[in-house]
């Protein structure tokens, strides 16, 4: 996904080596994908449109809370 838009970046983070980061986002199972520092989360493997929906939801939520 990062390849399709320069605004999107993707980190692969190894949980055992960076436990603080995993703790911060409450990682309990892998893979877990965190969107914009916790605004959205997807646990497990997923179809690409599922992650896309979660990204859009996270963006919308951020915009709504900024507007409030």
């Amino acid at each position: 996904m990062a390849m399709e838009n320069p605004l999107i970046t993707a980190d692969m983070v190894e949980v055992y080596e960076f436990p603080e980061l995993a703790d911060r986002f409450g990682v309990s199972g892998v893979p877990q994908t965190t969107i914009n520092e916790g605004l959205g989360t997807v646990v497990g493997a997923y179809p690409e449109d599922y992650l896309l929906d979660e990204i859009r939801r996270a963006i919308q939520e951020a915009e709504t809370s900024q507007g409030a």
Binding site: M1, A2, M3, E4, N5, P6, L7, I8, T9, A10, D11, M12, V13, E14, V15, Y16, E17, F18, L21, A22, F25, V27, V30, P31, Q32, T33, T34, I35, N36, E37, E48, D49, L52, I55, R56, A58, I59, A62, E63
Partner: protein, 147 residues
């Protein structure tokens, strides 16, 4: 240190690397302080990148080369970027790995190298057009384990 990849691994990786197109740089930031997996990550990357003449590995020190690390947004070691180099100007798609990519993640690494080289995500066209409509920064962090 004994090799991390065996002959069978080499053959499988070489098979996937046949799809490589543009040259790719792997830019690793390592650290001497408190980094259990830095050495083995570097060794693994040396072994993998050695399997294609299209892949070049750069190794930097996270502390000594702080500014360069910051330009890649890398703040942890071992951390590395996979960058396409179709011409002299690198194309950074924002793909980073933190920690040793072993086990399942080794497959992810090999596939990502080919994807970046081909500059093609392989996602379906509807997903691609939706992604391109996104106007705000999106930071994805995929938490994984080596097993």
């Amino acid at each position: 240190m004994a090799p991390l990849l065996n002959e069978d691994n080499h053959n499988r990786v070489r098979e996937v690397f046949k799809e490589m197109q543009s040259p790719v740089d792997v830019v690793l930031f390592s650290s001497k302080a408190n980094c259990e997996y830095c050495e083995s990550t570097q060794q693994l990357l040396e072994e993998v990148t050695g399997l294609s003449e299209k892949i070049q590995l750069e190794v930097h020190d996270l502390d000594a080369d702080r500014d360069l690390a910051a330009s890649y947004g890398i703040d942890k070691a071992p951390g590395f970027a996979i960058v396409a180099k179709p011409a002299d100007t690198p194309v950074d798609f924002g793909i980073r790995f933190y920690g040793i990519p072993s086990g399942h993640e080794f497959t992810t690494l090999v596939n990502d190298l080919v994807m970046v080289s081909a500059q093609s995500s392989g996602l379906n066209p509807e997903t691609v057009s939706s992604l391109q409509e996104i106007k705000t920064p999106v930071h994805l962090q995929v938490f994984i384990t080596p097993t």
